[in-house]
Symmetry: C2
Subunit: 261 residues, 2 copies
């Protein structure tokens, strides 16, 4: 058994990550035996192309598969695990901040974490998605690395602690960044302008940090300690106290950070 | 006189914006008569290619030029204006959040605001830099629009109020975003990883909002109200209370924002 690879999978969950996984697995030629979703329509829709079986009863999970991938919201993982039948294959989850030990009911455990922002409606080049892999034992790790290598060129091992750090960095650099774009879009809309107006600035902000460290790319009123501008901006945001708080806190933090340099 | 265009400029300031302007003006064939800097070495270095005169005495500003561009930090503008001689040409500043009226000592006033993040050491395609223009009278506005049109394809008029709104949006989408990249880089460094690890995620976060509204691109624990993950992240950041505050505030704001939808 030791040199065999993963050739068949059951996928649990049809959210953003699950949807992308299902497509990527099907395209890569891995046999996707079943897709589980609480809402069977979601699973059927996703599996329809390749006659993947949609299930909404966890007891029906196919125990002849090599791997079960649990890709539901973090809060829902324990409940799913409780209801699953016994299984001798590998069980892996896809969550950044959940330790591998949550799967301790199963002998062969793993984590298969895509370090990327995935939205259902947006296609993504899986080859460019970094995968962070952890396994309960060397053979499980090898099999999961091998499977990830079929999907992507960027595969590394990361234990639960390193993965949690990376997840926090992803929240800052992606989720929080996108929220700042959202708040900017609203400001522009109030001024009668399209969000597209910000496109060159957003592109260049990103481009810069591909070539220089972000510490060295910082510009703007906060790093100049330009109090006149900062106060003026906070005053202009008077009808938006939550944005005022964000503006104050981040401006303060930029100034403090670069003072320490 | 009414149909003439700006053909000669004096530039005050050799910071990030001033440095880029000097290069762009020289390349576009506009005569840059003088560059002022408190530190004359900066001005000399910047002007050396084309025999631009470096000055460090504001009284020596060339009053035969068509345009003076004041590109110093916002706080320094009033002091510069006080020391300048009388002038019948156009005086323009380059600041996002300073009203045109600060230049009221001069009859022909304007604003020439590049809506982009500019660092001295990074070349930028000026053609892609949006310029926001304001003039004290139609003829001044026309001349400044014309000059901006030589430098860039993206030129629009914006009054002081709209420009201030855009400046705030730029602080959010560029300065604050870059600071989040900086904080992420530090987290990765603590984990022994290069910032490059985040490159695919940062690229995709940006790419997404070129094709979909940022409101619709939001992912991550906050929008899912995944309290288990949020609490775990805040706990992991216990040695970094300022980052804890940022994490809490932005997570809370994401949740509140999308609840309202």
């Amino acid at each position: 058994m030791t040199q065999t690879n993963i050739s068949s999978v059951v996928l649990f969950g049809t959210g953003n990550v699950g949807t992308h996984f299902a497509k990527a697995l099907i395209e890569s030629g891995i046999e996707l035996k079943q897709i589980y979703s609480r809402n069977p329509d979601h699973a059927r829709e996703l599996g329809s192309k390749k006659n993947v079986v949609a299930i909404s009863d966890l007891k029906k999970a196919d125990t002849t598969a090599d791997l079960w991938i649990i890709s539901v919201t973090d809060d829902a993982i324990p409940e799913i695990l409780d209801q699953l039948p016994d299984f001798n294959g590998i069980v892996a989850h896809t969550a950044g901040s959940i330790p591998i030990d949550i799967l301790s009911r199963f002998e062969k455990r793993g984590v298969f974490y895509p370090f990327q922002t995935l939205s259902k409606d947006r296609a993504v080049d899986y080859n460019e998605v970094p995968f962070l892999i952890e396994g309960s034992d060397p053979e499980t790790t090898r099999k999961l690395l091998k499977l990830a290598g079929i999907l992507s060129e960027r595969v590394s091992e990361a234990d639960s602690s390193l993965r949690a750090t990376l997840h926090i960095a992803a929240v800052l650099s992606c989720n929080f960044v996108n929220h700042l774009y959202t708040l900017s879009a609203d400001l522009l809309e109030e001024g009668g302008l399209s969000f597209k107006y910000l496109t060159p600035l957003i592109k260049e902000t990103t481009q810069k940090v591909l070539y220089m460290l972000p510490q060295n790319a910082q510009t703007g009123p906060a790093i100049r300690n330009d109090k006149a501008v900062i106060d003026k901006h906070i005053e202009r945001l008077r009808d938006n106290p939550s944005l005022q708080d964000i503006y104050r806190l981040l401006s303060h933090d930029i100034l403090q950070y670069h003072k320490r340099e």
